[in-house]
Amino acid sequence: MAILSGNRTFSGGAHPPGQKGRSCEISIQPGPPAKEVAVLLCQHIGVICEPVVKKGDAIAAGQKVGDSQAFVSAPVHSPVAGKVKEVALRSHPVLGRAMAVVIVADPPDERPAAVDAGRFADFDTEKYEQAAILDASREAGLVGMGGAGFPTRVKLDPKGTPKETLIVNACECEPYITCDYRLMLEWTDQVLAGVRLAKKASGCKRVIIGIEDNKPRAIEVMRDVCRAGADGIEVMPLQTKYPQGGERQLIRAVLGKSVPTGGIPPMIGVVVINVATAAALADAVVFRRPLTHRVVTVTGGGIDRPGNYYVPLGITAGELIEFCGGLNSQARKVVMGGPMMGLAIADMKTPLTKTSGAITVLTQQEIGSAKFAQRQTACIRCGRCLEVCPERLNPTRIAHAVKNNLLDVAQDYYMSACIECGCCSYVCPANIELTGYIKTGKIFVARQKKRMPE
């Protein structure tokens, strides 16, 4: 159906079942109160923060607890008032173990207030200077909340190549996740305010909000407010296909242009920000609120009470799961993020970060029996991975080169251009963890170049 809609898209990609029905009609609720939070010092791409507080310090809500002098970095803040218990290692979804500032809430935190939807009704961009917006985005510790966590201040930087087009990523192509969808429906004014601020800060002339066509209500709601504003913000429905919300695929779909391999969108005059980031930007600029809370979708067959929650960042995945009724007996895998790109966690005490848009708890049935048993068979060279690769790579060649420790061959087949979307592993009939091998290969290369510790 989507193919017949005439909406734009990119070439390649896959159609994993959407599974958004569990949580898409549940409005954003306040999450659990924070008794203790562990604010990880690395929640973004770039230089890891140094703690700026020490054990025993009294902390106010929203106070900065970690920062870095580097340009490509973003400070981290405490969501609660309290006392620093320690600066210690905590589980990190990507790095394994990483330093975190652990704060005990005092007085005990109340449940984060439900956001007043009307507070951005009389928002006016004219009140805010470009420099002030940029400073606020840095000070509030804003990072891309879609998953990668690239510092927003760096992304919006108006210097260098002139920015022409701002694309707002409202695709939410990852199955199961509905947090961005709820944001658009419920916090529409805030999202729009953030989009306008981002436009002003980056100096873009054109703004396009890209939404997958499986979210007709979001398209309608955003179209209505954009029409009322009459400042040339355009809503573009896009085909429902994974990974439509990949930055490079989104640009390809919306503008028909390709970001050079190894390059970044500003090289072709484009800035892409996620709707959640836009909403956080509005909060940061208008109310001076740092990024300490976000909407997280808790979903999957392993959860009995799925929903979308506004939670303080630094509480653990386990706390949020317990708040949603705990894991049921069918739960087999706990994933931070969605099923395609999310990271499976073993430690339920892993703290939530700025990029944790969802906790997806999968059952054996959802995972699929072969995948669950991790039964990999020989590659039959069927070429399905090449067909679905949105970056037009040769996943089987790269993965098998990595498997046989031929890193030079893997790089020769453009391993670094892989966006790790997971389409190749998803379609593989032999059930080979192609994306897993490619990720491993990238880490090996980074280690060889001494960019990553052993």
Binding site: E322, P339, A344, I380, E420
Partner: protein, 355 residues
Amino acid sequence: MGQTNKLEIRVSPSPHVSKALSTRSVMIDVLIGLAPALAAAVYYFRVHAVTLVAVCVASCAAAEWVCNRIRRRANTLGDFSAVVTGVILAFSLPPALPWWAAMVGGCVAIGIGKMVFGGLGSNVFNPAMVGRTFMAASLGTLMTTWTVPATVDPVMPKVAPQRLDARTQATPLAWSKTAIKNELGATTYNRQIFGSTVTGEVGGCLGETSAVALALGGLYLLIRRTINWRIPAGVLGAAFVFAAAAFVLDGDVVSEPSRQWLASETYVQPLFHLTSGAMLLCAFFIATDPVTMPLTGRGMWIFAVGVGILTMLIRVVGEYPEGVMYAILLMNGATPLIDRFCKVIPVGGKPGGKG
């Protein structure tokens, strides 16, 4: 969290879900695609078809099982690839072949064609074609004795204008070669036999005679996207263009009061080349073996066009009436080179190059 501890929670790299697709389901799809041709084979060749397919499948499976045991590897019969090889091998054999010959062929196909390379996915050449080549080289006339379909009346055979042996008959392709050599004229032959090659009521290898059945199965695989459309398009397209060029360049316009048509004394009509011999079996089921064909789109075109042209070169210029087997093996051999030559370039161009 008490309850959580009792659960078995797993970790693995993303993605955490997968499409319901397995090597076995792909192979079963191919078997479904082969079913119409199998039905046609049973209809035309009766007990020969049943025996041959059963022996080939059994010997292929047995060879795979034994090889895995010798190599101390896990049993791989569950992926059904040996069954597919067995059926395709049986389809490419003369119907009246003795069962022991088919058994030898099946063992060679899997043992030499597949397992010595390391099993499924590692073989360079199409296992069924390796088995068949071995048999063609060592069994002599057994491999060129063609049975008349059981539906053909042996007294008044409508497929051949001459008196013939009640049991066997030349294949249409072989016959066209002889006919041309004997200056009987290819034109007379064409019209009589073309219809039979479409339905399959002709002599030939077990599963290759019925063009309709093969096309039906091929269509199923195309719709299911089990095979890549480029392969049949390339093979059939190239063969047709080659045959058409030969036919048109050599042909003369024949005029009759009522109509005019093109006729060639040396070459048969191009469409005939597509419906006869193993051309359709090759285009839909043999050349499309993913293991032995290139991975990239451009590579697939080169491979498919190569198979089509080589087949036609052997048929039209060479001594053999049929060229599919050698064409496939030659292009299989070229596949690693083609893959290396036709590297895909990422969407964003080569790194460091201009966008």
